[in-house]
């Protein structure tokens, strides 16, 4: 597929701890996205990036921050994790050009106790 690797694949942590999830892509795609997937809600956009150091908020951005210092890496940080952030997190990428399709990684399963 689009050569997207997410790490870690699984993580269990405690409320109040910081957590960083990493998305790495090998396709040189310009745009990158973070979504979360929860039962009863489907996939929802958290943050996205339209270039190095260029990011913006999505639908459910509260409690999350992102950074993109290189084209290939997009980091999602939970500064102080809460139980409501227990979810499966997916990274997606799309190439430059209008209306290109998004391709997804295999997700990070995050549990916050």
């Amino acid at each position: 597929d689009a050569g997207i690797t997410q790490s870690p694949r699984h993580k269990v942590t405690e409320t109040g701890t910081p957590v960083t999830l990493r998305c790495h892509q090998t396709e040189n795609h310009r745009y990158m996205y973070w979504y979360r997937q929860d039962p009863g809600h489907g996939l929802r956009l958290i943050h996205y990036s339209y270039g190095v150091k260029d990011t913006d908020k999505g639908e459910v951005s509260d409690g999350y921050s992102v950074s993109r210092s290189k084209t290939e890496d997009f980091l999602l940080t939970l500064e102080s994790a809460t139980s409501s952030q227990t979810s499966v997190y997916f990274c997606a990428t799309s190439s430059a050009g209008k209306d290109q399709p998004q391709h997804f990684g295999d997700g990070t399963r995050l549990s916050i106790l």
């Binding site: 745009y31 996939l43 956009l45 996205y48 999505g58 997916f90 799309s94 209306d99 997700g107």
Partner: protein, 114 residues
């Protein structure tokens, strides 16, 4: 009312049957429509990507868009047990020139019985 409605199922059909999966939406700005397949503990895999109204066929899969009714469908012919998965519809308006998030349905869980 949610922007995108999709019956969660499960939908169970015998092998070889024609499967019809559907989504309705309320935002008339949506112009691009996608179907993703998601296996358990895996990421969504793009199956079909269509623009505006009409049909698009790819092998056993046909995507259909009816903008006047705000209704999209995915048909799977000669269904196989390997088609058992969750199918997600997604859509978006035309790009403003940069990145755009997708709006997803909740997904339909499909089971193909051997």
């Amino acid at each position: 009312q949610k922007e995108v409605e999709q019956d969660p199922g499960p939908l169970s059909v015998p092998e070889g049957a024609i499967v019809s999966l559907n989504c309705t939406y309320s935002n008339s700005a949506f112009q691009y429509f996608m179907w993703y397949r998601q296996y358990s503990r895996k990421g969504p895999e793009l199956l079909m990507y269509t623009y505006s109204s009409g049909n698009k066929e790819d092998g056993r899969f046909t995507a259909q868009v009816d903008k006047s009714s705000k209704y999209i469908s995915l048909f799977i012919r000669d269904s196989q047990p390997s088609d058992s998965a969750t199918y997600l519809c997604a859509m978006k308006p035309p790009s403003g020139g940069g990145a755009d998030g997708l709006t997803f349905g909740k997904g339909t869980h499909l089971i193909i019985q051997p």
